[in-house]
Symmetry: C3
Subunit: 131 residues, 3 copies
């Protein structure tokens, strides 16, 4: 298992970690298999989406903040219930196929660490299963 | 593959199954690899989120019930369309990294079986891939 | 890795690809392990849900279109931001357990390719890890 560090700078932020993940996978020496990505936090997530036009990420965070409002009769004293809900809707894990040393992402796809309760210092766990 | 049983007692309920999953994984004797969790039902899901303050789970179920209302011009005769939609948004599968016999969950993370159309007797499938 | 083709005919559409996935998995000759499904597109997704009553799929697409409206102060010039957001909420990957040559789906479960910005010609990547 490899662990990479992610630093968020805003409360809600999608951070492109594709290059970091690729580098970590390369270090394992495994060229074919499955790459499992896991966020060990309860107010963050991982997703795969467009990394060409930055407006996509802007629209995504704007709309997700609307779908799950920051304030809505929540009882959790820490005040970050919205972040927990976003984490579960987007998901704490993601899986990418590895072939001939290359992550099989689509042309426009990047891997994003989703911060929903930043800014914070975060971790992402990576496990590569050969096959 | 291992199968565990989950009994829900309410219509919408998040049930902490971390201990059950850990026990099932231990029985396989595998200490390193990937643990795949799968819900073989169309009105339930599996997620990973905070298991410290019970208000988080309360807030999550409350808000998910708002985002996907129980009644909304649905046509499905069984009357549980909201549960199907929640199942797809949260997801039927989850993946956890296993290292030295330990599930690599974050400090505050627990594994939750999400019941969206209970109360019912449910199953969760677990497959451990060594690696 | 195997690649299957999916043709969508509407803007938003859930297409049952269970039979195609089963056939692709059979071709690998692997009978036990994990089947990883990956959508290499940023405006589509993959999910597992009911394939008995077609009203379930109708209700799901109707409601997801309400939760993530087609127009909502988005800035992305291509005009398909809603599709990107739906893709991240439903998810680009899914995982199914394989046992004795059979996908371990529940009685009512089918695998759906979710088109959110069609009609288009699409691809789905499948990787089977034995174990």
């Amino acid at each position: 298992m490899i662990e990479i560090q992610v630093t968020s700078h805003r409360q809600v932020e999608m951070i492109d970690i594709s290059a970091k993940v690729e580098q970590a996978v390369r270090q394992t020496g495994i060229t074919d298999g499955l790459v499992s990505l896991f966020v060990p936090h309860t107010t963050a997530a991982v997703t795969i989406n467009e990394n060409a036009d930055p407006d996509v990420v802007r629209d995504m965070t704007m709309e997700i903040n609307k779908i799950v409002p920051f304030n809505d009769d929540y009882r959790h004293m820490e005040g970050n219930s919205a972040a927990h809900i976003k984490s579960t809707l987007v998901g704490a894990s993601e899986m990418v196929i590895l072939e001939e040393g290359r992550l099989c992402l689509g042309t426009w796809q990047g891997i994003y660490f989703c911060e929903f309760d930043g800014p914070r210092q975060r971790r992402l766990l990576i496990k590569v299963i050969p096959g």
